[in-house]
């Protein structure tokens, strides 16, 4: 798991860049052949756009004619590339005529949980704010763990880790402070530290809750990310 950086401040408004790491679940199952040699999945070309059903339907217009053409001449198969391995495959936009387009216009349609259109707006691009010049702030909003662990779903959890004696002191103190309060602390953007946190360019926005644990001189400072409340679905 790679180490990343985040710019945060503590309860005394002292800020610094801190390392954090996550966890990537791995399968315990290894796919092998009959000789127990690992096998891999490879990408291959099954067909091309101009021989796809959509393209042939447009070309022949009548499905009976298309069927006859398939029986007599195999227009649905491109023998030059079908079955070839595909390594890098750059992405492009294509239009309904299956032609590459070089300029596109994006709009975002917002639907409510029932699937009804609420709003149509310009595409919203969320910029990462975890390494901004302005640190993510200690909001001072505490959520007692025993009362709030079941209010939010912590989709991801990262561990904050030190890279020097100074950052060890900084993080240990934070963990101890939170452990003593038996609370999560809302860490966030904006003046009050209550705004959303965006870890990746164009990524999702999260609420971030810090949780601290200590064990003698050791600490575990966790950053819980949530974008979902733990509440029942409205079946209306």
């Amino acid at each position: 798991m790679s180490i990343r950086k985040i710019h945060i401040s503590n309860s005394k408004a002292r800020n610094t860049f801190i390392n954090f790491k996550g966890f990537t679940p791995v399968s315990k199952a290894i796919k092998v052949d009959q000789s127990n040699i690992p096998v891999t999945n490879k990408k291959i070309i099954k067909g091309v756009a101009e021989t796809s059903f959509e393209a042939l339907q447009k070309k022949y217009k009548d499905l009976n004619k298309l069927a006859e053409a398939i029986i007599s001449g195999n227009p649905e198969i491109n023998t030059e590339v079908t079955g070839k391995f595909l390594d890098s495959s750059p992405k492009v936009y294509i239009n309904e005529d299956l032609q590459v387009v070089y300029r596109v216009y994006k709009t975002e349609k917002v639907f409510d949980p029932k699937g009804e259109l609420k709003e149509e707006r310009e595409l919203r691009h969320l910029e990462s704010n975890v390494t901004d010049e302005e640190p993510l702030k200690w909001s001072g909003k505490y959520f007692p763990i025993e009362k709030s662990f079941n209010k939010f779903v912590f989709i991801r959890t990262y561990q904050l880790i030190h890279d020097s004696g100074l950052t060890y002191d900084y993080l240990f103190e934070m963990a101890k402070e939170l452990e003593d309060k038996k609370s999560f602390l809302l860490l966030g953007s904006g003046k009050k530290g209550t705004g959303p946190v965006i870890f990746q360019e164009g990524g999702q926005a999260f609420r971030v809750f810090l949780e601290g644990r200590t064990n003698n001189k050791e600490y575990m400072l966790l950053m819980h990310l949530s974008n979902l409340e733990l509440k029942p679905l409205n079946d209306d």
């Binding site: 290894i30 291959i44 590339v81 595909l86 409510d112 990462s128 890279d163 009050k192 999702q204 600490y219």
Partner: protein, 203 residues
């Protein structure tokens, strides 16, 4: 009828149906519409390595190959663990007659790398929910292994309640450890708004 989970704790059985919860169902969703100059709908496609062909949806597939680049049919593939032991599929939790719940710590739950969240509904009588809610108010969380489909990997699952509704949160517990001063981690650097509204729907 929806399939049921047969949870079991201290000699008592609790039967529940489950319903997945996600942001789309709670807050709604967005769809990005892409158009060209002629207002034609656009979709993403790939380009072949030589740049000569457009590969639209359905044009790319996967095959299984051995290390000599020979095709291996799916019925010749098997699964082993790290020690080379052949793995059997783990049955779906819905096919089990009894899933034992065990007590665990809140700390373990808080280290869960979440895969899915489900809301539970009783398939018998409402008493099942009331009993477990009462129990969970005291114990906070109960743990078990969960497997939605028969497969080679199961998930860690935690049962908890919020305001009288039962939920299951599944995933894998992250193996984070306490760290002391001597454990210094080398960094490898990779990579506002002022909204004060504490609203999950707008995230």
């Amino acid at each position: 009828m929806a399939r049921a989970l047969h949870l079991f704790y201290k000699g008592k059985s609790y039967n529940f149906g489950i319903q997945k919860i996600d942001r789309k169902k709670l807050y709604g969703y967005t769809v990005i519409e892409v158009k060209d100059d002629n207002n034609s709908n656009c979709t993403l496609a790939s380009i072949s390595d030589d740049g000569k062909y457009i590969l639209s949806r359905g044009c790319v597939g996967y095959i299984t190959m051995n290390q000599q680049n020979e095709y291996i049919p799916s019925n010749s593939v098997k699964m082993i663990d790290n020690e080379g032991n052949e793995l059997e599929k783990i049955p779906s939790s819905f096919d089990l007659e009894k899933i034992e719940l065990r007590e665990t710590s809140l700390n373990e739950y808080l280290q869960l790398h979440v895969k899915a969240v489900y809301q539970l509904s009783s398939v018998d009588e409402e008493i099942d929910i009331a009993e477990l809610v009462k129990l969970l108010k005291e114990l906070k969380v109960l743990r078990f292994e969960f497997n939605y489909r028969t497969d080679y990997d199961d998930d860690d699952a935690f049962l908890l309640q919020n305001e009288g509704t039962l939920f299951i949160v599944t995933g894998q517990v992250s193996p984070f450890e306490f760290i002391g001063l001597e454990k210094v981690v080398e960094s490898e650097n990779i990579e506002e708004d002022d909204d004060d509204d504490f609203d999950f729907g707008m995230l």
